[in-house]
Amino acid sequence: MKRRHLLQTLAATPALLPAQQTNPSPDENVVLTVVSPESAGLPVRRFFTPEQFATLQTLADLIAPSLDGRPGAKDAEAAAFLDFLLAKSPRDRQVLYQRSLDTLNRTARTKHQKAFSELGPTEANALLAPLKVKWTYAAPTEPVAAFLRAAKADIIRATTNSRAVAEANIAGRRRATGLNPYWQVIE
């Protein structure tokens, strides 16, 4: 468990010392402090193979690195989140990710005799050259280029929308983003 998670868990645990006990309230309108499942445990990976996941982690770190004290994809655990998201995504999206991660890795091995996750930044960044193409409305037809475009958007979003970024914004007295009205199920 990470230190942050541990601190959050400890903060949410009621103290049990008798001197600090409060009298039970007969009121049913109690408010308890809770944390989300994501804050309490480590996510279980279900979708990518270990090699695909390592490639995605490296890719995520290249696309959204930590910069000037702001969290990056690694701090946001963006790759682990995308493993979860892709497991639930339509089949064509899953295939695009899986095959393209395999291709990136294969290309790395062919060119450098190393896995993508073992490449240095210069070698790894060189394999992301399709991202240098000027934006067009239609996605690229070449699968790896299409994947890199999709993955770039997904990684940035998974990072920007993470708790790590929100906490860093608050700590840095920057405007916290991502707070919006949420609609419950209406029955």
Binding site: S36, E38, L62, I63, A64, P65, L67, R70, F81, L85, K88, S89, P90, R93, N125, L128, L131, K132, V133, K134, W135, T136, Y137, A138, R149, K152, A153, D154, I156, R157, A158, N161, S162, R163, V165, A166, A176, T177, G178, L179, N180, P181, Y182, W183, Q184, V185, I186, E187
Partner: protein, 530 residues
Amino acid sequence: MPTFNHDVVIIGSGASGGMAAYILAQAGVKCLMLEAGPMVDFTRHRSMKAVYDLPFRGFGEPGRFPHITQASEFDANLWTDEKKNPYSHPESDPYYWVRIRLLGGKTLRWGRASWRLSDYEFKGKDHDGWGENWPLTLADLAPFYDRVEPLFRVSGRNEGWPQLPDGKLLADDSTESLSMERFLASAKKLGVPTTKPRRATGTLASSVNLLLPAAQATGNLTIVPNAIVREIGVDPKTGLVNAVHYIDRRSKREYTVPAKTLLLGASTLESTRLLLNSRSRQYPTGLANSSGVLGHYLFDQFYVKNTVTAIVPEARGGKGPRNLMGGAGYVPRFTNLKPGKPEKNYLRGWAWDFGSGGTPSPELFPQWGDELARTMADVQGAGFSMTTMGESLPRFEHKLTIHPTLRDEWGIPAPHIEQRYTDNEHNMAKDAMETGVALCEGAGFEVLAAHSQMVPPGESIHELGTCRMGADATKSVLNSFNQAHDVKNLFVLDGSAFPSGGVQNPTLTILALTVRATEYLLAQKKQGKL
């Protein structure tokens, strides 16, 4: 045991249903309103949440809404569930049907843009020979627009343009930012008219706060949520509507209620679906369909989102004066306004919404990593973007039919929807893009991206037609008062009544038409004709 003391049944509670109840209940008419969805409680159903606390970090559940790009993970529970409410379209021609089944309908989420139609739309055939004229003119509808605009607190600026009629507006006298001034000057140089946005104002501008409370305060409106109407019943002797058959959304128990007069405002495609599903010996191809055009002439307004995205160079790095960025505006249709041969390679025209001060999407930059992060910091708040709305032409072959086997969760036959954009719309979109680039460059902006790819039909949520009004009963379903030619006690009030739609957002016109139709209904009742 219910007491059937209502004078009219209203199906739907959105713009048209809500306005019908507002007018009729205040005139002393007993109204029974059937709404397919549940009631929204803004206090109970809505709360603030952080995006990182959502199960899918704001991505939304994958595959939940294949056709509703507007749905976010925050508001996913507002949109209609496609699995329970299926429809089909040709595989080659996707149709994005965007629905809200809640009390208040789409007025809970509408964009609020409120423009009047002009005689360029009402008399479009006279102008360029295409399609059919409306059976009314701006002069006929203007007094009703005059009443709707103050009710919805529409703000904007009157310009005196024939293609964008003036209204009863809350005057928008706000000043322009420096970047907007530059854009407006560039537009003026190229002869492109610009004005302020025209929008309904207020925290909420919906049927549920502006129309239904006043109607219910009269004691004349009974609202029934969760009532999904399956079929409209007809008296075999008179051919008039005499009943409405509905299903409780939750229990699926069926009910019937008598109807002396029926006002249908279930939304463009739902209303027509219901009429087509209401077949009888008198009306074997659907209720009020002696013309054979019911379901046909489906159209909307095509959208090209972010046609042009640009950067105001002086705003990079947060530099520039404080009033450099911000503000929004609108370009009305300005092409093909002269009578005779069109000046462009298309009929009719398009409009723009534009705004200053956003941050362009990171996907537009061919960068990643530190370089991209620094670019995003540099262009934060420095963006300028334009979205195109274009007129699509009503065509007979664009239609809603009933699917032979597909049923919704309540066993009601589902629609099959066919619409595609043609060369006319594509040529328009291309012209809009090229003109937009010229305007931005003329203003000294850096054009970051430009495209003319329209979203699929339906996605603008401005679906119109399929139950159109007209002077000729052999070519239309409704008369100029939204009354069915074939069935005198049936009125269809929503966007399905439109014979054409221009580029103006349709809700204001739906509201004005509804006021006009319901007051005609009151007059008919007074004269004993209904």
